[in-house]
């Protein structure tokens, strides 16, 4: 049972939840568990079976890319999903956040 923090930009995909509980021993298993329940999430997390390059996943405060990637074991830690935030307006937009 792993607490997974959902960033605001992914909350539409999970019915507005800020935090979900996922099952599994590894990052992959937990994310697949969540994607199984919230199918819209899958396209935002995975790319060709790997973690999408624009999403960071942290276990115990460490980026899983510096650990074992999707095979990183959770070991009772909590997970944070984190895409980049910039405000993200198109370059022509002129309303600075």
């Amino acid at each position: 049972m792993t607490k997974v923090r959902i960033p605001p930009t992914l909350r539409n995909e999970v019915g507005g939840e800020r935090e979900l509980i996922g099952e599994g021993e590894t990052v992959r298993e937990v994310l697949e568990d969540l994607s199984g329940r919230y199918p819209a999430l899958e396209a935002q997390l995975f790319e060709q079976g790997d973690l999408a390059p624009f999403v960071n996943v942290y276990v115990g405060g460490e980026d899983v890319r510096t650990l074992d990637g999707l095979d990183t074991r959770i070991n009772g830690g909590s997970m944070i999903l984190l895409p980049a935030m910039a405000g993200g307006a198109p370059a022509s937009r002129r309303d600075a956040c």
Partner: protein, 386 residues
Amino acid sequence: MATYRELLARVKGEIEEVGAAEARERRSEALFVDVREREEWEEGGVPGAIHVPRGQLESRIEGLVPDRSREIVLYCSGGSRSAFAAKALQELGYENVASLTGGFTDWKRNGFPIETPRSLSSEQRRRYSRHLLIPEVGEAGQERLLGGRVLLIGAGGLGSPASLYLAAAGIGTLGIVDADVVDDSNLQRQIVHSTETLGEPKVASAKRTIQALNPDVEVKPYEERLTSENVERIFGEGWDVIVDGADNFPTRYLVNDASVWHGIPVVHGSIYRFEGQVTVFNPGEGPCYRCLFPSPPPPELAPSCAEGGVLGVLPGIVGSLQANEALKLVLGIGDTLQGRLLLLDALGTTIDEVSVQRDPNCPVCAEQPTITEYVDYVEFCQGVRG
């Protein structure tokens, strides 16, 4: 009862005294403390010395020199006040204190190096008095701030509090890059602007507010969007720190690449609805933005504040944290957020921290970079997913 001469002779017998030549030998190790009055200090002192007038020595020394085993050489003009000062420090438990016999007068007579400190005006000493009281800042730190140059990308929600606090702190030169004009939908959070400046260029509006707050600050307005064409000109003007409050990914990646190539640290802040992110990218020392986020998210995952909204106070918190990091970088004190990303949730009032490491394969800041010149950042940020 003892006369002054007797008292001085007794004190001199109880402390260590060093001559000018020996004191000069100790300069690399010892901290020189000038205990003369301000007017004397302003006319010149030993290079690298700190100034603590005799009357404030006991109350301030623990803050300035917490390590009681630190080697200290005290001096005044002739060696008497510094003798009493050395005695006082001994009584406070300082173990390695000496007084310069003959004082600064003898030092000068020997032709040893002197420097005239750049000193604050009496008005500046009043304005920055709360900084001067902090041992980590003090007069030397305040002078660093007044000589500091910080470039703000954006005079919006993040740039507003950041520019105001940096200006109030006395950062001598603030550059502001923004092509926008003040709109009424900005005023819910962009507190450097006001109803009176609606329709004005943001750089002009910000400049007016900043100069009303602190006339010590020179504002350099750049009423333009930061692009691959103008970034070399703007970054090349020499900045100590960049505060990135941009509103879009192309600018974020452009700021990153240019800052890596110019070797300028970036204090990064970003916000959305109730959530904020803050970190410091210090080229050559820690990770860069591309190490943290190698690719920008696709547009559907990257709504703007204009599309998704933002709580007005959130940029106030995040922008103030950015100002704090920028001040520490200019002062060279404390631990910055280099290698750490702070995650703020204003709705739950929580702060989390995750670590950010250098990517050995980073296309820009790795030892063998694959990107070495500016790219088309708009295209880069749109063409993420096929």
